[in-house]
């Protein structure tokens, strides 16, 4: 190595390390940028004329009315939460049940296979799920429940449940795996059956991780767009039963952003909905992370 190159080595090293640091902090920058740019598009209306009271308490969403434009998002908010919670009603027991089965009951060979299938299930694109809701689930629900419409809350919830189950299973299984084997051995040595061991020892010990799994499942359900846009029937109202069509916050943005003129009031309100969604998922993710770290400390 010539001496001039040797002089350059530290400089090169320094440059590369700066670059690596830059990439490292880029994730923080991007999250921050997402908030700033989404908020920026809606800011003008948010500070002038945006009626938060109407937004959160009225169900009258008439963004393109000629005479009296109203932006009441209550029906959209209840739409998002009713579909999400109904889907969790299905996904949590099945997801946790499958996590327990995979982690504690199933033979090792089958375990590998099941984990692969669950991973593939997680990979199905949301628009394909939406298509499945539109076609297969649609006719199934009409036939099974005698419903007038197959595109409704139940349809969306089942699709969302199938979409969030893989997250619940994989994070739930990690949480169960993190419980030390000595706990299992102690329980079995006392004469517990496997189920007693799971129910009395493992579930309490893995409580936090399982809770985080459920939270991340909810986060996925709340933020899902294409599947609910295609499967829930897209009608703005407070649902009175699971067989009624609903519309969610995400679906509203996806359906209306294309038609709203850039920088119009309507357009800006859609960005404000975006900020609301960002805030909801942000809180859910931070909470889940804090819960998981909580275990790490112990």
């Amino acid at each position: 190595m010539t001496s001039s190159r040797r002089h350059l080595e530290p400089l090169k090293e320094w440059l590369i390390e700066r670059f690596i640091w830059l990439c490292g902090v880029s994730a923080i920058f991007f999250v921050f940028a997402i908030f700033v740019f989404v908020f920026r598009e809606g800011a003008e209306y948010f500070f002038n004329g945006f009626k938060a009271g109407e937004f959160f308490s009225s169900i009258e969403w008439y963004p393109t009315s000629r005479t009296h434009v109203r932006y009441g998002a209550l029906a959209l908010i209840t739409g998002t939460f009713s579909v999400s919670f109904l889907s969790m009603f299905i996904a949590v027991p099945f997801g946790l049940g499958a996590a327990v089965f995979i982690s504690e009951f199933c033979p090792p060979r089958l375990k590998e296979g099941l984990k692969i299938v669950i991973e593939l299930l997680a990979a199905i694109p949301s628009v394909v799920w939406g298509f499945i809701g539109l076609t297969i689930m649609n006719s199934l629900i009409v036939q099974l429940f005698n419903a007038p419409l197959g595109l409704n809350m139940l349809n969306g919830a089942i699709i969302l449940a199938l979409m969030s189950v893989p997250i619940i299973v994989s994070i739930g299984e990690d949480a169960l795996k993190a419980v030390p084997d000595s706990y299992r051995e102690a329980a079995l040595a006392l004469g517990c059956t496997r189920w007693q061991m799971v129910f009395r020892v493992l579930l309490p010990a893995a409580r936090n991780g399982l809770l985080a799994a459920v939270l991340l499942g909810i986060g996925r359900a709340v933020g899902e767009t294409m599947a609910v846009l295609m499967a829930t029937g897209h009608s703005i109202r407070i649902p009175r039963g699971v067989l009624e069509p609903v519309r969610t916050l995400t679906a509203t943005i996806a359906a209306e952003l294309g038609e709203a003129p850039v920088h119009s009031e309507h357009y800006q309100v859609l960005f404000i909905i975006g900020i609301l969604l960002f805030t909801i998922t942000f809180v859910i993710n931070i909470t889940a992370d804090l819960i998981v770290r909580g275990i790490g400390k112990k």
């Binding site: 990439c23 999250v31 692969i116 199905i124 969604l277």
Partner: protein, 294 residues
């Protein structure tokens, strides 16, 4: 004398019942995947052929193939890959090789988790606000790819970090002891030993980017665009394009009277591409685990 007591028998019955219940629950989760794939394939069978891939949609998207959307998706995926892969790999190198346990690392990890958790439609709003309007790129392949790149960044950071962490620390110590710098160690020891794991992450990223709809819908993908069939360079960087995922959405909800086989065919191709890349990543990972000697 050693006969089971009533209580033991009750316990055994309960144990059996629970096992059956859990097995059934798992089956109910796993079964839909297989049913869905077979049903879609069955419905799409009449139309699936090479011509379907290489012909453009015609007659208001009610006939023909999927060439324009397929090529658009390939463009979007490749360009987003070019942007996200280096940033993601270096970010993972920072997190695994340079940073110490500090509040900064904590915040970065939180940011990565949050970036993965931001709803896809919010990514779309961000792409529209930042790239299309603020940066003035306009609705284009470039703007859509940038949006996709940021969205898929967490995928590659997570898997790269995992494969870097799998390289034993003794490898690094041995390298430092012969006088190599941190970067030299990473470049010549850590990266070569984790390259297959990183590749797995890149493949997963492809699969994720190919399936996304919402982020490209308002940043660069259009309902319809006529391009030359057979010309792989038909799109420019600043052109708008069709995308397979959005095409499926369009023909199944926005266009009336589309023949059933056409929509099912599009769904099968999209699902096929995504699952194929995922299966490849899984295959690579399983093979890798078998080969590892430390």
């Amino acid at each position: 004398m050693f006969e089971a007591t009533d209580q033991t028998r009750r316990k055994q019955r309960q144990e059996k019942a629970i096992q059956y219940l859990l097995t059934a629950m798992t089956t109910i989760i796993v079964l839909p995947l297989l049913l869905i794939i077979f049903y879609l394939l069955y419905k799409a069978a009449p139309i699936l052929s090479l011509e379907f891939l290489f012909e453009n949609p015609i007659h208001g998207m009610r006939a023909g193939g999927i060439w324009a959307p397929l090529l658009g998706t390939i463009y979007l995926v490749l360009i987003s890959l070019l942007i996200a892969t280096p940033v993601g790999i270096f970010a993972a190198i920072y997190l695994n090789e340079y940073s110490r346990e500090s509040w900064m690392t904590r915040v970065i990890n939180l940011a990565v988790v949050n970036l993965a958790g931001v709803p896809s439609i919010v990514h779309a709003l961000f792409g529209l606000g930042a790239f299309v309007l603020f940066a003035g790129i306009g609705r284009s392949i470039l703007a859509a790819s940038l949006t996709l790149a940021i969205m898929t960044l967490p995928v590659i950071i997570a898997s790269t970090k995992e494969s870097l962490a799998a390289v034993p620390h003794s490898f690094r110590e041995a390298c430092w002891n012969v006088g190599a710098t941190r970067w030299q160690t990473i470049r010549h020891v850590v990266l070569p030993n984790s390259i297959s794991g990183i590749l797995t992450g890149v493949i997963l990223q492809v699969s994720r980017a190919a399936g996304e709809t919402a982020p490209v819908m308002f940043t660069g993908a259009v309902f319809f665009k006529a391009i030359q069939t057979g010309d792989p360079f038909a799109y420019g960087l600043l052109d708008q394009c069709m995308a397979l995922s959005m095409h499926l959405f369009t023909i199944s909800t926005q266009v009336p009277d589309v023949p059933e086989a056409l929509t099912y065919g599009t769904a099968v191709v999209l699902l096929g591409v995504v699952l194929l890349f995922n299966a490849l990543a899984i295959f690579l990972r399983v093979k890798l685990r078998g080969k590892k000697k430390w």
